[in-house]
């Protein structure tokens, strides 16, 4: 508003405005209209009325309807902004050539923000704001330039520019460049140069390119303003665009210049961020690629793997610019796993399986097995190393194992083989379930109740180190038949491992959790159910994994001593009867079945502790 003083010559020429020419000359000296064409100015001049005011006259008051724009011709007008207006200086004196009353040009601002009082006899040009905006809209080239100069002017005076500026109404006409086949390839190339899309496959980029439009902007044109709806994201093709972030945005640097390959307008990808955080103004004739944020997100949803990568690159980009990264970055509209229906046990397992198959790990596993089997083969059958010579070789074992008519009576074709497996699995299952059913509650109470622990723990700790084999005689005396002693022995080892780990799990719970629960009004049993049990869960499942391992371990020991079936029995009896390949078949089967049961326990654990799975997954990222 405070314009550089007019030259004396200009003032004299406008002091007595008589014709349109004079008005045009005056307009030419004002900041906003300086560069408008003669033609346009003539049309604007036609809207102007001339008025004189005496000292003490009030042109408008705070809160009056904001209809007209004023341009000073002569005299002095005192302009006092209201305190709530966010202005830098509240009082200003308007001199010839100054423009004020620009509330009339603002969208959504129907009221005056200031009071204007004449202090020296003044002559003014008065232009109807509505008519002026209409005129400027009809001629976007001039209109854009004039209004953007207005906004600069307003920004100079106000500490909160974006609040005001964004409501200026500018008609924006944009040249759209039609997409041709050739430019499609260009687009892909260009996308490849940008940080977020660098690593995306050509196929995907082509699909991204299909969502894009190309647009040209002229210097001074505004692409968007703070507070505008944030629909599209932009990628610079050529030219320069100034990107000015709003003060409240928490940005590190408020102003940046965007060059070729830069991406801006990513507010379109933020959730709960419907409005622009920045204003962008074209500095040099610029060409941009523009695409709708929602289209892009939809596309990524169809290919979450790529989507995740691109979105996380966007997040990095945003984080670089902002001092408050987490506030913003976490609201990225990434189809977050947590927000949709959380994957259930099976879904999650499938998802992890799929990830695993895509990763290099399965091949490492295969290589590991390969090396091991190769060593077995070479050591026993090729090199015939001293200690290995007597061992059953891999070819002998595999041949026997897959033989429909096995030499020693046990192969995948014989029903006994499955019977042995079944008997062992059943024993382990019963023992394991018993151990879990008794061991977990025992462990929970041991950890929870000091008194209970004082009673029980010393006895528990005395019994725990006794090896399973030492229990065999007592077990046989205690239980009749061959089945129960075996189950009992298997159970014992499992039980100790489970109870001990559960107890440690309870002890591991941070006291804050129990205290918080009491604070929130939980009673003792609610604390037990809501804090102790879930809090100990990670340790419980570690315990169960160990427990299922030791169950197999003690099962074989027990089966070697008594029983007529089971894999332990197979191994032991084959040794007695010198059926060496059968020993190895029993061992390998034991390994495979043991591995499977342990994996099952892990899966159940993951299912019951979604929170932990998700936490760990985040940690690994």
């Amino acid at each position: 508003m405070r314009r550089a003083a007019l030259s004396a010559q200009n003032i004299s020429s406008v002091r007595s405005l008589t014709s349109t020419e004079d008005v045009v000359a005056l307009l030419k000296t004002t900041a906003p209209f300086q560069q408008a064409s003669e033609d346009a100015l003539r049309r604007i001049a036609a809207l102007a009325r001339r008025e004189s005011y005496a000292p003490g006259d009030v042109l408008y008051r705070l809160g009056d309807a904001a209809d007209d724009l004023y341009i000073m011709v002569s005299g002095r007008v005192d302009h006092a902004l209201g305190t709530g207006s966010g202005a830098r200086t509240l009082n200003q004196t308007m001199k010839p050539g100054d423009v004020f009353g620009w509330s009339a040009l603002m969208k959504d601002q129907y009221r005056r923000l200031a009071q204007a009082t004449c202090t020296e006899r003044a002559e003014l040009l008065r232009i109807d704001g509505h008519a002026l905006v209409g005129l400027l809209e009809a001629d976007p080239a001039t209109g854009g330039a004039v209004l953007s100069r207005f906004s600069t002017l307003i920004t100079q005076d106000f500490t909160l520019p974006e609040e005001l500026v964004h409501v200026l109404s500018v008609a924006k006409r944009v040249e759209q460049v039609p997409l041709t086949r050739a430019s499609m390839d260009d687009l892909v190339l260009l996308l490849k140069k940008t940080m977020p899309f660098q690593v995306v496959s050509d196929e995907m980029l082509r699909r991204v390119a299909k969502l894009s439009r190309r647009e040209r902007y002229h210097p001074g044109e505004i692409i968007y303003r703070v507070g505008d709806q944030s629909d599209d994201i932009f990628i610079m093709v050529s030219g320069k665009v100034e990107h000015a972030l709003g003060l409240g945005s928490g940005a590190r640097t408020l102003n940046q210049t965007m060059n070729e390959g830069d991406v801006f307008g990513w507010a379109a990808l933020l959730k709960d961020q419907p409005a622009r955080l920045a204003s962008t103004t074209c500095l040099e004739k610029a060409e941009v690629i523009r695409m709708a944020g929602n289209d892009l997100i939809r596309l990524f949803e169809s290919d979450p793997a790529t989507g995740d990568v691109v979105m996380s690159r966007f997040a990095t980009m945003i984080t670089r610019d902002f001092t408050l990264p987490e506030e913003l970055a976490q609201v990225l509209k990434i189809p977050k796993r947590g927000e949709e229906a959380p994957p259930t046990g099976l879904g999650l397992t499938m998802y992890r399986m799929a990830l695993w198959v895509k990763s290099p790990w399965p091949y490492l596993m295969v290589a590991g097995f390969g090396l091991f089997l190769a060593f077995w083969y070479l050591a026993v059958e090729v090199w015939q190393l001293p200690r290995f010579k007597e061992m059953p070789g891999i070819t002998t074992v595999v041949k026997e194992w897959l033989n429909p008519d096995p030499t020693y009576g046990l192969s995948v074709y014989t029903s006994e083989y499955y019977q042995h497996i079944w008997v062992s699995v059943r024993r382990v299952a019963i023992a394991f379930l018993l151990a879990t059913g008794l061991g977990v509650p025992l462990g929970l109470f041991l950890g929870w109740s000091r008194n209970f622990r004082e009673y029980v723990f010393p006895v528990f700790e005395t019994l725990r180190p006794i090896p399973i084999l030492a229990w065999v005689p007592l077990a046989i005396i205690m239980f009749t038949g061959s089945e129960t002693p075996v189950i009992y022995l298997t159970f014992l080892a499992s039980f100790f491992a489970t109870a001990l780990n559960t107890m440690l799990g309870v002890e591991s719970i941070d006291e804050s959790y129990t205290r918080a629960a009491y604070c929130l009004g939980a009673n003792k049993w609610q604390v037990f159910g809501h804090v102790i049990v879930p809090g100990a869960m990670p340790f419980i499942f570690t315990g169960l994994q160990i427990s299922v391992g030791v169950a197999w371990f003690s099962l074989v020991a027990a089966e070697m001593v008594s029983g007529q079936y089971g894999l332990g029995y197979v191994i032991n009896s084959s040794y007695m009867m010198v059926r060496y390949p059968t020993i190895v078949i029993g061992m390998v089967t034991l390994g495979a079945v043991g591995y499977t049961t342990s994996a099952l326990v892990r899966i159940v654990g993951d299912y019951m502790m979604q929170w932990r799975v998700r936490e760990l997954a985040l940690g690994a990222r």
Binding site: P342, Y513, C519, P534, R612, E615
Partner: protein, 288 residues
């Protein structure tokens, strides 16, 4: 914030209906290794309802002991603590009953990691039997939305940033309509930028729910920025050494940090705290 709450400005806390704490002559003696250690020594402190009282003192000075006594986690040896005229603990009742009228926000955060944020927030009314699970979830959702936490309801605490976690924890406390919030250095582990956001958020919550706040901290900026009063505690045994009125009017925002008055208060507080810190340091050396 300033514009939202610029209804009236004041230096004294608003008169809240409840939440007045009276700590009278409280003594706490620990005796961990046979040798009695006096953690709190005849400490008296009165906190009017609706005040933000900041407790500042060297580490290990016994501030947390005091907080634990109010919350009902620990016994006291003698003296008494009253909340709104009702005795929490005192002669004949060494330990207060923990309850939802005084909720602690813990140093390292105590959202249950195995419950989603929504379940965490709804926990209080559900276990107290005040609401059905559905009612509690509805209210929790609304309160989270008010606090700008929409969208994190179905995340587990482990999946959100520590700053957001603290906010969820405060909302969880407010669900129970407490008279007193007890903060045990809740922002200690946060970086200073997140901290500043948390402070303004806390004040915003405070302006909406006038609760009494008993807030332990080491951070003098935090103490002056948030508090109506600052109680500087002596090093072990703990007793108020000096009580400073922070006469900067509420509502406050971060511009307060650069004001002249803030600097003056800082000098004053620092003087009192520094002396104690040196004492604590020397004591620690002797013990070590």
């Amino acid at each position: 914030m300033a514009s939202t709450f610029a209804v009236e400005t004041r230096t004294r806390p608003p008169a809240a209906a409840r939440g007045a704490i009276r700590i009278e002559d409280v003594v706490k003696i620990y005796d961990p290794d046979g040798a009695a250690v006096m953690a709190v020594d005849h400490c008296s402190l009165e906190i009017p309802a609706g005040e933000i009282c900041m407790i500042v003192g060297p580490s290990g000075c016994g501030k947390t002991t005091l907080l634990n006594a109010i919350a009902g986690f620990h016994t006291i040896t003698s003296g008494s603590i009253h909340l709104d005229g009702e005795m929490l603990c005192g002669p004949g009742k060494p330990k207060a009953d923990p309850g939802a009228d005084r909720i602690v926000v813990f140093q390292n955060g105590a959202l249950f990691p195995w419950k989603t944020n929504l379940e965490n927030v709804a926990f209080g009314p559900v276990v107290q039997g005040k609401m059905s699970k559905k009612e509690a979830h509805d209210k929790a959702r609304a309160m989270m939305a008010d606090a700008g936490l929409s969208g994190t309801e179905h995340n587990y605490p482990g999946e959100i940033s520590s700053g957001v976690r603290r906010r969820v924890e405060i909302v969880r406390a407010l669900m129970n309509d407490p008279s007193v919030l007890l903060f045990d250095e809740p922002y200690r582990a946060l970086d200073s930028l997140t901290k500043s956001v948390m402070h303004e958020a806390l004040l915003e919550i405070y302006y909406r729910n006038k609760v009494t706040i008993f807030f332990i901290t080491h951070d003098l900026d935090e103490a002056i920025f948030l508090g109506h009063r600052i109680a500087v505690m002596t090093t072990r045994p703990c007793r108020p050494k000096k009580i400073l009125e922070v006469d900067i009017p509420h509502p406050r925002d971060y511009s307060v940090l650069t004001s002249k008055r803030f600097r003056e208060l800082m000098d004053e507080t620092l003087g009192a705290v520094h002396e104690e810190a040196i004492k604590a340091f020397e004591l620690g050396e002797k013990e070590g």
